[in-house]
Symmetry: C2
Subunit: 337 residues, 2 copies
C-alpha cells in the first residue's frame, strides 16, 4: 500500500483566497488517493467550500485554525514578528512538528521565505534556501534557481544551488545525471563577475554534471537541465519569459482578428493554437519549490487559479515521495569541495 | 537640401563577413539618398561585392584599407593592443577624425566596446558607455540599457543610463518625455540591492520622467519606454527574450505539422502567421547603439543577415540626423544631481 502523504495548505492566501485554492485542493485529492490535506486558516471560511463533496474526499481533509493572514504586500520582517498565528506560519509549523510532510502557499513570497527559513532552518551545509522554478524548454523542462530569494549570492551559495537543482531535476524528471549550467553573459571563461567565475571553478571541481557557462537563450534549448543563477538574474529571466509569452499571445490574437479573412483563418487554426497554448500554459509550470530547508515548501503564484494551484500541490507531493531534502543532504556530502 | 551623412562600415566582421554586409549596405544606399558609406577592410575583397551596381550608388561608396580582422572570440584587450589596423579599429578612427559621422560593426562586441571607448572616449559626465537595445513591446518598442557592456554598475552609472536612454528613445520615437523605469525584482521600495535603491533615489530627484521600479515582465507591456539596468541583468533579459521567441516558434511549427489535419490548418493560417512572424522578427530590432561615447557607434548582431545589417545602418543614420551625443550632453547638463 502506498504511504499516505499529508500536505498543509495555506488556504487563505493568494490573490483569490479559499474560493479558488480549496477547489484546486479537491481536484488533487480526487487524482491522488494517497494525498491527505490539512487546510489551514479560518475554519468558518474554509468549511463552506467543502459542502457537498463525497465522503471519501472529506475523510482526507482536516482543518487547522489560524486567525491571521499575511497581506500580499506586507513586509516580510513584520509578518515574521507580528503574524505568529497566520495561515502561512501555522502551515509551516505543521511541517516543523512532523504533522505534515510539506506545505503549499500562494501567499507573499518574501514572507513565506523568511518564515520558512526561521521556522524550518536550512539543511546542514546550505547557507541560504533558494526558489527553484520549472521552465518550459524545447523537448522538456529546465529547472532554474534562484528565481528571487537572494538578490546577491556568494560563489559557495551558487555552488549549493547547483547541488539542490540537480536533486530536484533528477527527482522530478527521473534523470540520472542532470546537466548543470551557470548563467552568465557569455560562454568564455573571462566573462561575468569574479563570483560567477569562482562558482564555475567550484562546479567544475564537483561530481555534478557541470556543463559550464550558459547564456539566457540556452535556458529554452533543451541542452541544460539545471540553470544556476543569483536570485536577481533568475527573477529577471523568469519574468522576461512571462512578459514575452504574454506579448506574443497578444500579437497572435491581434493577427487573427485584424480582418474578416484573418478571423476565418484564426477559426480554422484554432485547434492547433489551443494545443499550442496548452503546451505553453504557465499554469502548468506553477509551483516553485523553496529548496535547502529542513522540510518541503512549495510556493504557488499569487494569482494562481484552481488548475495552477493544483499543480503546485502536485509538485509538493512528488517532492515528498522522493524525499528531496534528504537527497540534497546526501548529494552535498558526496561533494569534495 | 538634406545634409549628406557618412557612415564607416566595418565590412569584414560578423559571422558572414563582406558577402552579407555589403548587400545590406547597398539596400540602405538605395533607400536613403543622403547616405554615403566608407567600406572598411580589404579593398580586394570588398570591391568585387560592388560589381554591376548603378553608378549613382557607386558614387556614394568609398573604401578605406584595413589589413587586420578581429576574431569573434578574440579577447578585447588583445584586439585593442595587437589589431591596430583592424577593420573595426580603422572604422572607429574615421569617426574620431571627423571623416565619418558614425560607424557600424557586426564584430566582436567586447572588442568593439573596448576599442570605441579607447579611441573615442566617453562624453563629459559619463563614466561608462552602455549598449542600448530596442525591444518589441505591445504597441511599440522599449529601449533597454545596458545589455552587456558593464556587468557591474554603480548607482551613478545607472542614473547616467537613464539620461542616455531618454535621449535615444526621444530621438528615435519622437516622444516628448519618455517614461524611464529601473529594472528590479519587485516594485516595492525595499526591493533589490542598495545600488538599485540609490539609483532609484537619484532618478526620482532628476527631471527625467522616472516612473519607478519595474519588473522584467513590464518590459513588454508598453508602459515604459526606457528600461535601465546593469549589463548583466539587461543581457539576461535580452537573451531570455531571444530564446523564448525561438522556443515559441518551434512549438508553433510543431503544432502545425503534427497531423495531416493540423498541416492543413497551418496552411490556412499561414498568411496570419507570416504577418505575426514579421512583426516579431528579431532582424527588425537589430542594431544596438553604444551610447555615451564622443561619437556614434552601432553594433549589429554577429549573425545578422542582409536585412538585419541594413537595419543597424538605418539606426546609425537616425542617430546622426538627431545628433544623439550632443543631445545626451545637453540633457545631462540639465540634471541637478
Amino acid at each position: 500500500m502506498t504511504r499516505s502523504i499529508c500536505i498543509a495548505v495555506d488556504a487563505m492566501s493568494g490573490d483569490y483566497g479559499a474560493q479558488v485554492l480549496v477547489p484546486g485542493v479537491l481536484d488533487q485529492l480526487k487524482i491522488n488517493r494517497e494525498l491527505r490535506v490539512i487546510l489551514v486558516g479560518r475554519e468558518s471560511v474554509l468549511r463552506p467550500c467543502l459542502e457537498n463533496i463525497p465522503a471519501e474526499l472529506a475523510s482526507r481533509v482536516s482543518f487547522q485554525e489560524a486567525s491571521q493572514l499575511v497581506a500580499m504586500d506586507e513586509d516580510p520582517r513584520t509578518a515574521l514578528r507580528k503574524k505568529k498565528d497566520s495561515s502561512m506560519r501555522v502551515a509551516i509549523n505543521l511541517v516543523r512538528d512532523g504533522l505534515a510532510d510539506a506545505c503549499v502557499s500562494a501567499g507573499n513570497t518574501g514572507a513565506l521565505m523568511a518564515t520558512a527559513r526561521f521556522v524550518l532552518r536550512t539543511l546542514p551545509g546550505i547557507d541560504r534556501p533558494a526558489i527553484i522554478a520549472t521552465i518550459p524548454a524545447i523537448g522538456g523542462n529546465t529547472h532554474m534557481l534562484d528565481v528571487g530569494a537572494n538578490s546577491h549570492c556568494t560563489a559557495e551559495q551558487l555552488f549549493q544551488f547547483g547541488v539542490m537543482g540537480s536533486v530536484v531535476s533528477a527527482d522530478i524528471h527521473e534523470l540520472k545525471s542532470p546537466r548543470v549550467g551557470l548563467l552568465n553573459i557569455g560562454v568564455e571563461a573571462i566573462k561575468g563577475t569574479e563570483i560567477i567565475r569562482e562558482a564555475g571553478r567550484m562546479l567544475s571541481g564537483s561530481n555534478l554534471n557541470y556543463i559550464g557557462f550558459i547564456e539566457a537563450n540556452d535556458i529554452f534549448t533543451g541542452h541544460v537541465d539545471v540553470v544556476v543563477s543569483d536570485g536577481f538574474s533568475g527573477n529577471v529571466a523568469l519574468k522576461t519569459l512571462e512578459g514575452a509569452a504574454r506579448m506574443i499571445s497578444s500579437y497572435m490574437r491581434a493577427e487573427f482578428t485584424r480582418t474578416l479573412f484573418s478571423r476565418i483563418q484564426g477559426l480554422v487554426a484554432l485547434p492547433a493554437l489551443k494545443a499550442f497554448r496548452k503546451r505553453t500554459d504557465p499554469r502548468r509550470y506553477n509551483g516553485a519549490s523553496m529548496v535547502g530547508l529542513n522540510g518541503i515548501v512549495v510556493k504557488s503564484h499569487g494569482s494562481a487559479d484552481r488548475i495552477a494551484f493544483g499543480n503546485a500541490i502536485q509538485i509538493a507531493l512528488v517532492e515528498c515521495q522522493q524525499g528531496v531534502p534528504i537527497q540534497i543532504s546526501k548529494l552535498l556530502e558526496q561533494q569534495a569541495i
